[in-house]
Symmetry: C2
Subunit: 192 residues, 2 copies
């Protein structure tokens, strides 16, 4: 069986990633699979080991990091979250295209370890307008304008880390673009 792709999806929290992803996942011909993450945070009621997360202690987590067993990881509000390498490898070996929805920092870690990763950044439709507005003749205090420019520039710098940028001005279109990106990369990966 042909090995699957590793696909990373990132984007600002307000961009509607979840809705677009749900639409993409509907297409069973893409053979997509989510990878279960590992975390040190406590299991919440209704959550299941190996379904929502793999729940480990801080010591276990840091030992996995030290042993190179994590594809990427990050600390968030005192807890560790990360993607176990063997989980991704297992799914890819089964022919699944593994989809990870992660932060920019995590994506950069993966690019180091896995140069053939397919990286997609979803941008909101109004971002370009926002930037133009910031650069235009502003009535705001110079300090505020500078802060906004810096924030916009940080976001633009993030986008540069990604191979594909998809504007979510329409859920169906954003999903369709992501589907063709996955299909074509699968063909290229399998040497078709």
């Amino acid at each position: 069986m042909a090995r699957g792709l590793l696909i990373v999806l990132s984007g600002p929290s307000e961009v509607g990633k979840g809705t677009v992803l749900k639409e993409v996942m509907k297409d069973e011909s893409l053979h997509l699979a989510y990878s279960v993450s590992m975390t040190t945070r406590e299991k919440r009621p209704g959550e299941e080991e190996g379904v929502n997360y793999y729940y480990v202690t801080k010591e276990q987590f840091l030992s996995a990091v030290k042993n190179g067993e994590m594809l990427e990881y990050a600390q968030f509000v005192g807890n560790y979250y990360g993607t176990p390498l063997h989980e991704v490898e297992r799914l890819r070996d089964e022919g699944k295209n593994v989809l990870l929805e992660i932060e920019v920092q995590g994506c950069m870690q993966i690019k180091e370890k896995c140069p053939d990763v397919v990286t997609i950044f979803i941008v909101p439709p109004n971002m370009k307008e926002l930037e133009k507005r910031i650069r235009g003749r502003g009535t705001e205090a110079e300090e505020v304008v500078q802060q906004r420019l810096e924030k916009a520039n940080r976001e633009m710098d993030m986008i540069r880390e990604y191979k594909y940028v998809v504007c979510n001005d329409d859920i169906q279109l954003a999903a369709d673009i992501i589907k063709v990106i996955i299909k074509r990369n699968q063909e290229l990966y399998q040497g078709k």
Copy 2:
């Protein structure tokens, strides 16, 4: 018959627009049509009136501009080139999706006159790398770095004028992305 879209395609000269467009035009289900431009340059051997261009005098061209009959126009090496509005309107009324391959300045003129235009910018796969390289620890003279940064920024500013940015790292994929952009915008335009 449903009215067609107006689609503008731009991108740096080395980006392979022609090859991608040829691939997109193959798909007859998209009902695409090129619009014949108007020019003041002399007809070359083998060229045909109404096929390659509409050939007019400088006076006729400037009169058309003055009368608002041009969707966009530009001067290049002493000659005028432009898109007659009635040509685009005729094709759209016939249900054709009109594709214009034009410069950024022309695109901005069209956005003013035709806010529902679908704008696509094709970028080369190595542009993001180029920018990172410029911003990295450079060994070049500061002046050269600054010039490069300015050029890259001018290009980034151009991209911001466009709704869709498509990276041409693979002709088939770039063409597929443009096809779904056209198909979905056609649905949206026709209120589906």
